[in-house]
Symmetry: C2
Subunit: 250 residues, 2 copies
DNA sequence: GAGTCTATCTCGGAA
DNA sequence: TTCCGAGGTAGACTC
């Protein structure tokens, strides 16, 4: 029996089922009219409304309203949850240590209480990240331009890390800034800071912003600063080679 | 009847209940063994596992694993969801326009399908935001130091917005950077950029980072740059006056 | 609609 | 453990 369900349970029934589910490290799902108070990194109060409450086996606790992707109140994995009855009312409590945080939910009326002994071994396979773009460019440097040779990756400078450092066919230094989404002015500013740092030493340093697209304002600033743009889509293969390094090509 | 529930439904029963719930703009909650494919801003694939699926009245769609606060796959509010049966299997689909994104979930086995006609009019009341800190400092400038006078808020400069601009008792310009959480090196860099911009014009500009705490590295950088730190906790009152402006004090 | 910024951001990786 | 940066960030707000 993977699933246990109770419709419109009494307070005691709800209490027992929830405690049972937590103890068995099940996925506990509750539909209820509730209110919530949180105190920790911030402080919040949520008045009564009908919501979805979820307690996960890893200690995650969430209160979801009828809108938005984000929970309205929550606690992260490893929080300790329990149910208790006080003055005839059912409460849920989730406590986190370091930082000390406490979320208390008062259940005014439970419509559905259930738990689910979920088994889930798989992780998400995802493609289209900045890291994948870097891998792709290291493996296919001509995507930047003919004759481009990468020299270093995540190269540390005062103002941060240069995504890819390389040289063009004339031996001029090239600073590559990667963005996996549309690039804004902040990306241009970041690239400019890197280039300025190098230009102090020597001239002829090229700065290239690589992204699938760019905002209008960012393109204007880029041109003003004498920087370049390469339109490149992040790769879409789900099983990209992890751990591609420059060693393979130098 | 606020709640409708079916345990271990057949494919057709599950299909009908889910479509019914979506049409009635209910909160649809499903416990099922499923796999998922996403294509849009990125691309992802999730192999079979036992999960919680939620469809909200506002169009939000979520697939939750047995761990983590964030859903493993999701679509934002205003997405269009539907269920359908293809080659004897039950599928859920959620589509978003602009950007074009599609999430498809195949239900291999539904353990629990339910929907809940939730009513929830209340919004979260929360305290402890950066904005509240700004309000507090505008109302009590001496928290920065004796004689401090705020002059402008969200003051636009080339590299962004200065949280609070003011003058000390000697008439020297002060640039205040607020953080509601522990400040890191990025906050110091940000403050430094603002101060540098002003120092081009005139010397004697003071930069002050205001936060409840600061990382070790950030404090070192702050001292190197001749900037200052004020340890201030964000306010905890839940009903802070919204819309406090400088007009009330100048 | 596009751009910018905060967040109880969350989450993963590195020092 | 602490810290830093990426994210399909989400969500709020301004222009």
């Amino acid at each position: 029996m993977k699933c246990k369900v109770s419709e419109n349970p009494s307070i005691k029934e709800a209490y027992r089922l929830i405690e049972d589910g937590i103890r068995k490290r099940a996925l506990v799902v509750i539909l209820a009219c509730c209110s919530a108070s949180y105190e920790g990194r911030a402080r919040s109060r949520l008045d009564a409304g009908e919501r979805l409450i979820v307690i996960k086996p890893d200690g995650t606790f969430m209160v979801h309203q009828d809108r938005k992707v984000d929970p309205v109140n929550w606690q992260p994995p490893k929080s300790r949850s329990r149910a208790y009855i006080k003055r005839g009312s059912l409460y849920l409590e989730s406590i986190r240590r370091d930082p000390e945080e406490r979320l208390e939910v008062e259940i005014h009326e439970a419509h559905l209480v259930s738990y689910y002994l979920a088994r889930d071994v798989h992780d998400l396979m995802v493609a289209g990240h900045e890291n994948d773009m870097g891998d792709m460019i290291i493996m296919h440097p001509h995507l930047i331009e003919k004759g481009f040779r990468p020299v270093a990756r995540e190269y540390a400078v005062t103002s941060g890390f240069i995504d890819i450092l390389g040289k063009d066919e004339n031996g001029s230094l090239m600073i590559i800034e990667l963005k996996s989404r549309k690039a804004g002015v902040s990306a241009v500013k970041q690239l400019k800071r890197y280039v300025d740092e190098f230009r102090e030493d020597r001239v002829g340093v090229r700065g290239v912003l690589v992204a699938p697209s760019i905002t209008h304002d960012a393109m204007e600033m880029l041109e003003e600063e004498g920087l370049e743009f390469r339109e490149i889509e992040p790769p879409r293969e789900l099983r990209s080679n992890r751990g591609v390094t420059l060693d393979n090509f130098l």
